[in-house]
C-alpha cells in the first residue's frame, strides 16, 4: 500500500489545482451571465 503515500498527497494537490481553476472562473465572471454564452451561437461573426 505504499502507493498511498504518493496518491493521497497527489489528491490533495489535485484539489488545490481545481480550486485554482475555480478561482479563475469566478473572478473572470464566468458564473454571472450564464445565458449569454448560449446565445453567442446566434451571432454572425
Amino acid at each position: 500500500m505504499d502507493i498511498l503515500y504518493l496518491l493521497i498527497p497527489l489528491s490533495v494537490a489535485l484539489v488545490f489545482c481545481i480550486l485554482g481553476g475555480l478561482w479563475w472562473a469566478i473572478h473572470r465572471g464566468q458564473f454571472e451571465d450564464i445565458e449569454a454564452e448560449g446565445e453567442r451561437i446566434l451571432r454572425n461573426d
Binding site: 489528491s11 490533495v12 473572478h27 445565458e35 446565445e39 451571432r43
Partner: protein
C-alpha cells in the same frame, strides 16, 4: 445646501440659447457633449486596469429587449474608432465599454448607440453595482473552497467509517488525517473568516450573537482535531472531526450565499430607478438666456426649463407653463397629474405634455428621489436577516454550554485532570450549535427558493414566520384587486345613432387625452376595429383643435369625409347635457352642437383570478377586508364582485393606518396587500406585507413579499407554504433540542466516545438540512402564466 457657482465652465461645452434652438436632436447632442468633461465621465467610469490610458465606462441601455439587441449594440460600439472592447449583458441591460480619451469621447460612442435606435445612459450607480458584484464573487469563492475541501475530506474520512479496527495500519490512518488537516486549513482560515471575524467583533463590543458559539465550536473542533492529528498520544486522543467541521461550514456558507442572492435580486430589480435623472438641464442665466449644463452643477434657487419627455432634475415648484407629469415610479399614482404655476414637482418624475419652468428647491441627496435610492442602497448593507433571527438564542445557549463544560471539567478534575480536559472538549464539540443554527434558516431559505421560482420574492425571511400566524388580510382596491384600466360595459345612444359609430367619434377625441377614461375608450375602439379589420379607417378619425377643460372633459373638431365637420364634446354629464342614467358605473358622455349623443358606462376591470383567490383565502380561515381611497360606491361594487364582506372606501393613507392599528390592537395578525406609495405606511405597519410586481419601487422596498408576476393566485400557496415552513422549523428545533439534551449529559458523564460525538454532530446537521429541503418542492399552483418578458 450651499450655492454652487462654477459658472462659466469651459467655453466649448457651453452653448447659448440661440445656438441651441428647441429642436430635439440638437438638445440631445448637446446634453451628451456635457459628458465629455473628465470629471463628468469619472462618475460612471474607472481607469481600465489592463489597457493603460483607457477608461472603462459602465452604461445602462434603454430599448434593449433580447440577446440580439446586445449583438447589434456591440457591433455599433465596436465600429467607433477609439473603442477597444465592449461587453454587454442581455440579462441586465448593462454594458462595459473600454475606450481611449485620446481618440474618442463618451458623446461619440453614445451617439453611435442612438443612431441604432437605443439609448445609452451613464450608470451612476456603477460603483455600488461593482461593490455588490465583488461581494457576490467573494461569497461564491468562499463557498467553492468550502465545497471542494469538504468533498475531499469526506473521501478521506470514509475509510475510517467503513473499516473495522485494525483494518487500516496506523501509518495509513495518519496519512489520511494529515491530508484532511491540509484541506481543512483553507476552510478554517479562509471560508470561516466571516464567522470568526464577526465573533471577534462581538467579543470586542461585548455583545453576543450566534456567531460566537458557532466560532467557538469551529475553533475548538479544529484545535482538538489538529492535536489529534499530530499528537495522537496527547490528552485529546487521536480522534479528528475534520469531516464534521468542513460540512458544517459548507452548510452555513450555503445559507449565507442564498441569502445574499436573494438580496441582490431585490436590488437588481430596482436598479432601473437609479438612473432616472437627466444628465443635463437647461438653466436660466441672470440675463434671461438659457444654457445647458450638467445636472451636478444644478443648485438650489436655479430656474430650469423642462421639455415634454424629460425627467425633472430636482424637487421644485413650477414657475410658468402647465403640463401633466407622470409620478408613477415614485408615488404609484398611475394617472398623469396636472401641474401648473405654483404646483410642486418631484425629481425623477416625467414631464409628459408641456414645457414648464421650474424653480429648484431641493437637489441631490435632499430630494425624495435620492431618499428612495438611499433606502435601496442600505438594503444591500444590512446584516442578513437570518443571522439576526438566531441571535436571540445565542446568549442562553452560550451560557448553558460554557456552564456544562465547566461543570464537567470541575467534576472530573480531582480524579483525572487529562480526562477532565477531554470531557470538557467533548461537551463543546457535541454542542457545537450546528443543528440549532441551521434549523430556522435552512427551512426559510428552502421556502424562499421555492417561492422565488413561482414568482414570489421574499424580501424579509422572518416574515415567513409572521405570515403563518396571520388571521386577517387587507386588500387595497386599485391595482391590487382590479387592474388599473377601465373597460366599457355599456353604451347608451341617442335614437338613430349606432353604438359603434358613437364609440368611433368619441375615440377621435379620446386618443388625444391622457385621462384613463379616454385611454379606455380609445383602446375599446381599437379592439373593436381590429376585430372588424377596420383599424386604418379608425386611425383616420383624428380630431383637430383639441382643448381640455380640467375636471370636465375635452372638446374638438372631427372631420368627416363627405360631410361637414362635427364639433364634439366628451366628458361629464353636465359638460355634455346628458340625461341621467342610473347605475353604479362610471359614466362619460359625448355631445355635438345639437346636444347629447351617447353615454358610455365604464367599469373597473377586476382581476380575473381575484374572486377565486378570495374564496380560497376564506377557506383557509382568514378574515378578508378591503380599504381603499376611492369612492364608497365603487369600492362596494368591487367588493361584491370579488366576494369580500367588509369594505371601506374614501380612506386616506392615515385612515388606513389607523384602521390597521385598531385591528392589531384587538389582537389580530394582519397582512396587507397593496401596490402604491399611498399604501407605504400601511405596508410598513402591517405584520406582513405584499406588494405587486408592477408597483412602485418604494412600496416594493417596504414590502416583505413581492409578487413578481403581478398576479394574486400565488398568494394562497404562499400562505400555505409559510404554515408548512413553520411546522418544519419547529420539528428542526425540537430535533436540535432533543439531540443536545440527549448528548450533553452523556458527554458530561464522559460516556460519549469522541467518534460518536463527531458523527452525531454531522448527522444532526444533515437531518435538519434534509428536513428543510422538503420545502423546496415547487408550489402547487394552478397553471398561472408568467407575463411575457417584453411587450409584444
Amino acid at each position: 445646501m450651499t450655492q454652487v457657482n462654477v459658472w462659466p465652465a469651459a467655453p466649448d461645452h457651453v452653448l447659448d440659447a440661440a445656438a441651441l434652438g428647441s429642436a430635439g436632436a440638437a438638445q440631445v447632442a448637446d446634453s451628451l457633449k456635457l459628458l465629455d468633461e473628465p470629471d463628468e465621465w469619472a462618475a460612471f467610469s474607472l481607469p481600465d486596469k489592463d489597457a493603460s490610458g483607457c477608461w472603462r465606462s459602465s452604461v445602462v441601455f434603454e430599448g434593449m429587449h433580447c440577446a440580439a439587441c446586445a449583438i447589434t449594440l456591440e457591433d455599433a460600439l465596436r465600429s467607433v474608432p477609439g473603442v477597444y472592447s465592449v461587453q454587454i449583458s442581455g440579462a441586465s441591460h448593462r454594458g462595459q465599454i473600454v475606450w481611449s480619451p485620446e481618440q474618442t469621447r463618451p458623446s461619440e460612442w453614445m451617439r453611435s448607440v442612438e443612431r441604432h435606435g437605443y439609448k445609452a445612459l451613464p450608470a451612476n450607480d456603477a460603483h455600488a453595482h461593482q461593490r455588490r458584484r465583488d461581494e457576490a464573487r467573494r461569497m461564491v469563492w468562499r463557498l467553492s473552497v468550502a465545497a471542494m475541501c469538504m468533498m475531499q475530506v469526506m473521501m478521506y474520512a470514509t475509510p475510517a467509517y467503513l473499516s473495522e479496527p485494525g483494518d487500516i495500519s496506523d501509518e495509513s490512518m495518519h496519512l489520511l488525517r494529515w491530508a484532511s488537516w491540509v484541506l481543512s486549513l483553507p476552510v478554517m482560515f479562509f471560508s470561516c473568516t466571516p464567522f470568526l471575524g464577526q465573533a471577534w467583533r462581538d467579543l470586542r463590543e461585548r455583545q453576543i450573537s450566534m456567531d460566537l458559539p458557532v466560532a467557538l465550536g469551529m475553533v475548538v473542533t479544529f484545535v482538538v482535531s489538529t492535536l489529534g492529528t499530530f499528537e495522537p498520544e496527547g490528552p485529546f486522543g487521536a480522534e479528528v472531526y475534520f469531516d464534521s467541521l468542513t460540512m458544517f461550514v459548507f452548510f452555513l456558507l450555503t445559507g449565507r450565499w442564498l441569502e445574499l442572492r436573494l438580496r441582490d435580486r431585490t436590488a437588481g430589480a430596482l436598479e432601473a430607478v437609479l438612473n432616472r435623472l437627466p444628465d443635463s438641464v437647461r438653466k436660466r442665466q441672470p440675463d434671461g438666456s438659457w444654457v445647458r449644463l450638467s445636472i451636478r452643477r444644478l443648485a438650489v434657487g436655479d430656474v430650469i426649463e423642462v421639455l415634454p419627455g424629460e425627467a425633472f432634475a430636482g424637487d421644485g415648484t413650477v414657475v410658468s407653463g402647465q403640463t401633466q407629469v407622470d409620478e408613477a415610479l415614485l408615488t404609484g399614482e398611475s394617472l398623469p397629474l396636472k401641474r401648473e404655476a405654483g404646483d410642486r414637482v418631484i425629481a425623477g418624475s416625467h414631464n409628459l405634455s408641456g414645457t414648464v419652468q421650474v424653480h429648484i428647491e431641493q437637489v441631490g441627496a435632499a430630494t425624495r428621489y435620492a431618499q428612495i435610492v438611499a433606502l435601496m442602497e442600505s438594503a444591500s448593507l444590512s446584516k442578513p436577516a437570518m443571522a439576526l433571527l438566531v441571535d436571540r438564542w445565542a446568549k442562553p445557549f452560550l451560557v448553558a454550554v460554557l456552564l456544562a463544560s465547566l461543570a464537567s471539567a470541575i467534576y472530573w478534575w480531582p480524579s483525572d485532570p487529562a480526562h477532565a480536559v477531554m470531557v470538557a472538549v467533548a461537551v463543546l464539540i457535541v454542542t457545537c450549535p450546528c443543528a440549532l443554527s441551521l434549523a430556522t434558516p435552512a427551512a426559510m431559505l428552502a421556502t424562499a427558493g421555492a417561492l422565488a421560482r413561482s414568482g414570489v420574492l421574499v424580501r424579509r425571511l422572518s416574515a415567513l414566520q409572521n405570515l403563518a400566524a396571520i388571521d386577517t388580510v387587507i386588500f387595497d382596491k386599485t391595482g391590487t384587486l382590479t387592474r388599473d384600466a377601465f373597460e366599457v360595459v355599456h353604451i347608451h345612444t341617442r335614437k338613430g345613432l349606432a353604438p359603434e359609430q358613437a364609440l368611433v367619434w368619441a375615440s377621435g377625441l379620446a386618443r388625444h387625452s391622457l385621462h384613463p377614461v379616454s385611454r379606455a375608450l380609445w383602446s375599446e375602439a381599437r379592439r373593436r376595429a381590429e376585430r372588424s379589420f377596420s383599424l386604418p379607417e379608425l386611425e383616420r378619425w383624428a380630431a383637430r383643435e383639441i382643448s381640455e377643460q380640467a375636471g370636465q372633459g375635452v372638446q374638438g373638431q372631427l372631420d368627416r369625409p363627405g360631410s361637414e365637420a362635427l364639433n364634439l364634446r366628451l366628458g361629464s354629464a353636465r359638460f355634455c347635457g346628458a340625461p341621467h342614467f342610473s347605475g353604479h358605473h362610471l359614466q362619460v358622455s359625448l355631445a355635438d352642437d345639437v346636444g347629447w349623443l351617447a353615454t358610455f358606462e365604464l367599469a373597473e376591470d377586476v382581476r380575473p383570478e381575484a374572486p377565486s383567490v378570495v374564496a380560497r383565502l376564506k377557506a383557509l380561515g382568514l378574515t378578508l377586508k378591503m380599504l381603499s381611497g376611492d369612492g364608497a360606491q365603487a369600492v362596494a361594487q368591487v367588493a361584491r364582485q370579488v366576494g369580500i364582506d367588509e369594505a371601506r372606501g374614501g380612506c386616506s393613507p392615515q385612515d388606513k393606518l389607523e384602521q390597521l392599528l385598531a385591528w392589531q390592537a384587538q389582537g389580530h395578525q394582519v397582512a396587507m396587500v397593496g401596490d402604491g406609495l399611498n399604501d407605504g405606511p400601511v405596508l410598513a405597519g402591517a405584520d406582513v406585507s405584499f406588494a405587486l410586481g408592477q408597483s412602485v419601487p418604494l412600496a416594493q422596498s417596504k414590502a416583505d413579499f413581492v409578487l413578481m408576476a403581478g398576479q394574486l393566485d400565488v398568494l394562497v400557496s404562499t400562505v400555505l407554504r409559510s404554515r408548512q415552513t413553520l411546522r418544519i422549523v419547529k420539528q428542526n428545533l425540537v430535533w436540535a433540542a432533543v439531540y443536545n439534551a440527549a448528548c450533553v449529559p452523556l458527554a458530561v458523564m464522559g460516556c460519549l466516545p469522541a467518534w460518536a460525538a463527531g458523527l452525531g454532530m454531522a448527522l444532526s446537521s444533515l437531518l435538519v438540512v434534509l428536513n428543510a429541503v422538503r420545502l423546496a418542492s415547487p408550489l402547487p399552483t394552478q397553471a398561472h402564466e408568467l407575463q411575457p418578458r417584453h411587450p409584444a
